[in-house]
Every structure is written in structure tokens, then in C-alpha cells.
């Protein structure tokens, strides 16, 4: 646990953990509202948003890309609603129509535009480059108090930290109305809670979390973290606060364990190179969910 750890692993682990937390928090509510696959849809449409932002600005600077991705996510949500209502198509199919079309458009745009000079490709979008987010300026644990070294932290860290903070604040502030609207929408409306607006706000926060996390870790973790930790937590308890707490624990555990397994697991097995950290984090979250499905105390339905 020396200087090498601080330089190579500390920041990716922090980013992975923050991304997991940012996605898991809204994921809890999406899961209970039967919108679990919205995370899937959002993470697919981030690609066209980023490519469009690149085509407009001509650079891979982060702010326009984040804006483009967030806008694409909102456009996708609006289109899904439009197709569902205007076409009278069931939500799952409406979602499938919209996000596959937008993803295809993103891939086509990417292939048509000259992105050879910049680091922008489909593989990167899918599984990110968590391992490359190293802290070059660091020299050891002492760098944590060194302003010069701290200034050299990868910018992704600050962005994902901000997004995580946003989801935490959103969840904490709107906890009661969110919980009521999630479990009993009719009652929530009778209490004067604007459920439509609240649902839109939840989707927006989820989109922001997905986009910020996507920036650092790729879309595959985003989908996994939206669903797996909340789903595993759902099998542990019947109480919402406890479910959220469990899910956060699972998310952090998946991120840390997944990163360590990806980075050091192959070494223990005698191989030389690390495997994809993003993929491993998703795999670990799946293993946790599988365990919860097998032994979680509340895994069965009430009406057996």
C-alpha cells in the first residue's frame, strides 16, 4: 500500500466507488417504480449525445460532451414517452425502439466523422477506461495534502464527485415525496405531490448520474449499478431506508472488489495483464445479486 497504490489505483477506485454510488441511489427508486431498464436505455443513448457534441464543438472537451449526453438522455426519455402514448405501444417495446435507433445513429455518426485524432470509439463508450485514470502527480499518501499534486487529479474525479453529491442531495431532500410517490402514486397525488414532475426529476438525476459515471467508467457499469445493487438489496429487507443502505454497501463492495480482482486477480493466477475493471465490477455486482437471490432473507414473494 505504498506510493504505487496511490498513483495507480487510488483514483480509479475512488471514481469507481463514486460512480457506483451515484447510479445505485436513483436505481433504488427506478427498480421499485418498475423503470429498471430506463438505466439501460439512458446509457445507450449517451453515445449519440457525446458524438453529436463532438461534431458540434470539434473537441473532446468534457463540458459540451456532458451536456450533449444529458440532452440525449432527456430526448430519449421524451421520445419513449411520445412513442408510448402516441403510438399506444407498451413501454418495453417503446424503449427498445427508441434506444436502439439512437444508439445506431450514434455509431453511424461516429463512423462517418473523423475521430481518428481523438480518443472516441464505441468500445471506450461501452467499457470506459477506468484503469487509465491514474494520478501521475502523486508521490505517495502525503500527496493527499499537497495542493500541487491535488491539482493534477484527473478531472473525471471532480465531475463524478459532483454528480454523486447531486444524487445524494436529491435523494435526501426529496426522500419523503419520492418514497410516497414510489409506493402509492394515487395517495401521493392526493397529498399534493406533483408526481409527474417528481418522476421527471428522478429520471433527470439518473441521467446526470449515468452521464457522469459513463464519462469515467463506460456504460456497462452504469447499467449494472442501476440495477444489481438495488435488486440485491431488495431481497434483503422490506424497508426502504434499509434497502438503500444495503444497496450502497453492495455498490461500494462491487466497485472495490471488482477493481481489485481485475487488477490483481490475474496476477494471483499467474497471468501478467489485468482484465477490464469495468467488466469485473459488473461481474462482481452480479455475483452479489446471485448470492442475494439464493440466500437473501426476503427473496421470496409475499404471496408464495
Amino acid at each position: 500500500m505504498g506510493a504505487e497504490f496511490v498513483i495507480l489505483s487510488l483514483v480509479p477506485m475512488l471514481i469507481g466507488t463514486l460512480a457506483a454510488v451515484a447510479c445505485t441511489l436513483p436505481g433504488n427508486f427506478l427498480l421499485l417504480r418498475r423503470q429498471a431498464l430506463l438505466g439501460d436505455a439512458i446509457s445507450h443513448v449517451v453515445l449519440p449525445g457525446i458524438v453529436a457534441a463532438f461534431l458540434v464543438t470539434g473537441t473532446v472537451t468534457s463540458v459540451p460532451m456532458l451536456l450533449g449526453a444529458a440532452a440525449a438522455a432527456l430526448v430519449a426519455v421524451a421520445l419513449i414517452e411520445a412513442v408510448r402514448r402516441l403510438g399506444r405501444i407498451e413501454p418495453g417495446a417503446a424503449m427498445g425502439v427508441v434506444f436502439t435507433s439512437m444508439f445506431a445513429a450514434g455509431v453511424l455518426l461516429l463512423d462517418l466523422s473523423d475521430t481518428s485524432s481523438v480518443h472516441l470509439d464505441v468500445e471506450h463508450a461501452l467499457y470506459g477506461n477506468l484503469e487509465s485514470l491514474i494520478w501521475i502527480e502523486a508521490e505517495g499518501w502525503s500527496s493527499l495534502t499537497d495542493p500541487a499534486a491535488l491539482a493534477g487529479l484527473p478531472p473525471e474525479l471532480a465531475r463524478i464527485a459532483a454528480a454523486t453529491l447531486l444524487t445524494v442531495v436529491f435523494t435526501a431532500l426529496l426522500w419523503r415525496p419520492l418514497a410516497i410517490a414510489t409506493f402509492d402514486e394515487g395517495f401521493a397525488r392526493s397529498q399534493g405531490i406533483p408526481t409527474g414532475l417528481l418522476g421527471l426529476a428522478l429520471v433527470t438525476v439518473a441521467a446526470i448520474a449515468a452521464v457522469a459515471a459513463f464519462d469515467a467508467v463506460g456504460s456497462i457499469i452504469v447499467i449494472a449499478m442501476f440495477i444489481c445493487p438495488p435488486a440485491a438489496a431488495r431481497l434483503m429487507t422490506d424497508r426502504l431506508p434499509i434497502q438503500v443502505a444495503w444497496s450502497l454497501g453492495f455498490a461500494v463492495a462491487s466497485a472495490l472488489l471488482g477493481y481489485l480482482l481485475a487488477g490483481y486477480g490475474p496476477l494471483w493466477l499467474g497471468a501478467e495483464d489485468a482484465v477490464s475493471a469495468a467488466g469485473m465490477i459488473a461481474t462482481v455486482s452480479g455475483a452479489i445479486l446471485a448470492l442475494a437471490c439464493l440466500v437473501g432473507p426476503r427473496r421470496r414473494r409475499l404471496t408464495a
Binding site: 427498480l31 399506444r88 417495446a93 424503449m95 457499469i221 442501476f226 481485475a262 467488466g279 409475499l302
Partner: protein, 400 residues
């Protein structure tokens, strides 16, 4: 160039790809229809993502055995096994735990895909040197399509299509009324299993052409587009197959018409364009038709209310109403009724009075339920009934 591509003049590979993509679209559209009707369209997303670990493991296994790691048949076998496991996992989570099916789908697709990525990175570090190309299964890679690949796709597509044709009745019954199907002695589990197996087969066929991320589009978009045009499931499946085949063919031709155009995304975008056209232009369910219907109803309501106002000597303030009456020759621009307008107005008032009486009398209840403020009562009641109503109306002094 595009014309050349559409008429298969662009050489051997382009022709192979276009025919393969068209066959893929045909079978995907037909199969997707029953997934769509069973409301399980997104299950195909879990199936397709769950193929990735199998592709990677099959590659490792084949190279370990000293075979060509990129042999399509072996890769497809591997992906079939892992996608089958994924399906089982979705089914198991959705039935044995309290988690809903959408959560199970999301969990399986992300975890299997993550595992697949891990295996792909393992392969990249292997010393076989022939691993390049497995990424092609993510988004499809038609450039290097071989004759044997095309034959595999053609054979698989024909087989799936035949099976859909064979199984269409039980699958329709399971989609529309599972309770009745079960009571009639049909094995619902087997039907659903067959449907999943068909979706899995389409996914495997499509891996090479559009890739595992976008194949779900071919299973969902053509049926969703076909739904706009018909209310009959058989016609919908046929139309979805045609739309899917068209998407595959046109998309592949488009991608062949210029260098560096990817086939998979273009096939999907062609399907999306067909969907948008259907959403807008389909008769009855389409947006244009709905808009026209709305305008027609609005016009009829304005005319009717205008006539009633004329009949009762009330002034008309609504400009649209006045314009409609004027254009129909029923009123002058200042709102005074013409000769013809007075006659029409009297008729409308009589109709309204007849309806009011019919609706207040329980004897006429079935017919009175058809009242919508626009329908003339003569189209609902028989002449005898009308005569009876008029007889009752006359003493109250309403002009007949």
C-alpha cells in the same frame, strides 16, 4: 451507386451481405411480432447481451483445442449456450424471487455483458494473435463475411421462419389469452420456451450482421411498426417480416453504396425510418389519421352548434363557426341564416329534441347510448320508433 447496390450489382460480398441481412430481417420481424404481442420485447436485449461470454469462451476453447478460434459455427454454439444460461437466469430470478422481470433482464444483460468484456480482455492478452475480430460481434462485421457465413444465416433464417409459421397459433393464443390457452390444454411453458428459443436463434443469426447490441432493434422495431397497420396478428407478423426484410436489404445496400458505412446501424436506422413513417402515416392508428379525425370532429361539432344557435335565434360569436356556416352556404357573413340554413337549423333542432326525448325514456336506452351530439337520430332508430317519438313531441309544440 445506391441503385447498383439495391440491384445487387456491387460485387460478391455486398450481394451476400444484402441477401443475408434481408433474410435476417424477415425472420427477426416474424419472431419479434410474437415477443411484442407477449409484451416481452426487451427480453431479447438480455438474450443478445448474454451471448458475449459464450463467444469469448468458445474462442478460448477452440484455440486451446488447436482449432481456428474464429470458426463461426463454434462461436455461435458458445453464444447459444451462454445466452441460454442468461435466459434461464432471467426466468429463475423472475419466478423464484420477488424481483420483477424487467429488473431480472437488466441484471442479466449487464452482468453477462460485463463478464463477456472481462473474457475479451483476457483474450487480448492471449498469445494466439488471431483474436482480432471478436469485437466485431458487438456491432456486426459484414466486411469479411464468407460464403459459409451467408449460408449459415440463410439456413438459420429459413428454419426460424418455418418454425414461426408452424408455431404461430399456440404463440398467438399465449400472447392474447394465456388463461384460455392453458385451459384449452396448451402447454404455456413449452410455448414460451419455443418463443425464447426462436428469439435466441434470430440473435445468433444476427450476430455477424448487426451485432449483439443492435440485434434487439430488428426484433422490436419492425413489429412495432407493423402494429400500426393492422389489428390481426397474422397480418402483423407477415408485415413485420416484410418490414424487417426491407430494412435488412435497404440497410445493407446503403452501407455497400459508400465506403466506411457500417451495416448494422444502417439496417437499424432503416427500420427506424419505416417505424417513423408508420407512426405518422398509418390509417386509423397513425398520427396524421388521428389529427385529421380530430379536425373533422371539431368541424362537425362547430357546424352543429352553429346550426342550433341559428335555430334558436342566438348570435354566433365564434369566428370559426361562422366561417364554416358561411362556406357551407348556411349563413351570411353577418351571421344571419340563409334559406337553406334555416331549413338545416330546424332539422338540427328537431334532431336534438328527438334525442332528448329518446334519452329520457328507458325504452330507448340501447339506442340512446349511441348519442354523441353529432349522429343524426335517423341513423339509429327505426322509422316506427321515430314516428312514436314525433307523436310524443308534437303536443309540446316543437315544430316538426
Amino acid at each position: 451507386m445506391l441503385f447498383d447496390a439495391l440491384t445487387l450489382q456491387l460485387g460478391y460480398n455486398a450481394t451476400l451481405v444484402a441477401i443475408g441481412a434481408a433474410l435476417l430481417g424477415l425472420s427477426a420481424g416474424a419472431t419479434g411480432t410474437y415477443l411484442f404481442l407477449r409484451k416481452r420485447a426487451l427480453l431479447s436485449d438480455a438474450i443478445s447481451h448474454a451471448t458475449l461470454p459464450g463467444i469469448g469462451l468458445a474462442f478460448i476453447a477452440m484455440t486451446a483445442l488447436g482449432l481456428d478460434g474464429r470458426a463461426l459455427a463454434g462461436l455461435l454454439l458458445g453464444s447459444a449456450v451462454s445466452a441460454g444460461l442468461g435466459l434461464l437466469a432471467v426466468h429463475w430470478i423472475a419466478t423464484r424471487t420477488r424481483l420483477p422481470e424487467d429488473a431480472a433482464i437488466g441484471a442479466v444483460l449487464s452482468v453477462f455483458f460485463g463478464l463477456g468484456i472481462v473474457i475479451l480482455t483476457v483474450i487480448q492478452t492471449l498469445d494466439t494473435g488471431r483474436q482480432a475480430g471478436l469485437e466485431g460481434f458487438l456491432l456486426g462485421a459484414t466486411a469479411g463475411m464468407l460464403r459459409s457465413d451467408a449460408l449459415l444465416i440463410a439456413g438459420g433464417g429459413a428454419l426460424t421462419l418455418a418454425l414461426v409459421l408452424l408455431l404461430r397459433r399456440p404463440m398467438t393464443a399465449a400472447a392474447f389469452d394465456p388463461g384460455f390457452a392453458a385451459a384449452a390444454g396448451q402447454n404455456l411453458k413449452a410455448t414460451d420456451l419455443a418463443l425464447m428459443a426462436l428469439a435466441l436463434a434470430v440473435t445468433l443469426i444476427g450476430l455477424k450482421v448487426v451485432g449483439l447490441i443492435l440485434i434487439v432493434a430488428l426484433l422490436i422495431i419492425p413489429p412495432a411498426a407493423a402494429r400500426f397497420w393492422t389489428d390481426r396478428s397474422g397480418a402483423m407478423a407477415a408485415l413485420a417480416a416484410v418490414l424487417g426484410g426491407l430494412s435488412g436489404y435497404v440497410g445493407a445496400a446503403l452501407s455497400a453504396s459508400a465506403p466506411a458505412l457500417p451495416t448494422g446501424p444502417l439496417v437499424v436506422l432503416t427500420a427506424a425510418a419505416l417505424f417513423t413513417a408508420s407512426l405518422l402515416a398509418a390509417p386509423r392508428r397513425g398520427l396524421l389519421a388521428a389529427g385529421l379525425r380530430h379536425l373533422r370532429t371539431r368541424r362537425a361539432v362547430h357546424l352543429r352548434q352553429g346550426l342550433l344557435a341559428l335555430a334558436q335565434g342566438q348570435p354566433i360569436y365564434e369566428r370559426y363557426t361562422l366561417r364554416l356556416l358561411n362556406r357551407a352556404g348556411l349563413a351570411r357573413p353577418d351571421g344571419v341564416a340563409t334559406e337553406e340554413g334555416r331549413a338545416e337549423a330546424a332539422k338540427a333542432l328537431l334532431d336534438e329534441a328527438r334525442w332528448a326525448l329518446a334519452r329520457s325514456d328507458p325504452d330507448f336506452e340501447p339506442s340512446a347510448a349511441l348519442y354523441d351530439g353529432l349522429r343524426p337520430i335517423e341513423t339509429v332508430l327505426t322509422p316506427d320508433e321515430l314516428a312514436e317519438i314525433d307523436a310524443r313531441l308534437a303536443p309540446r309544440g316543437v315544430p316538426a
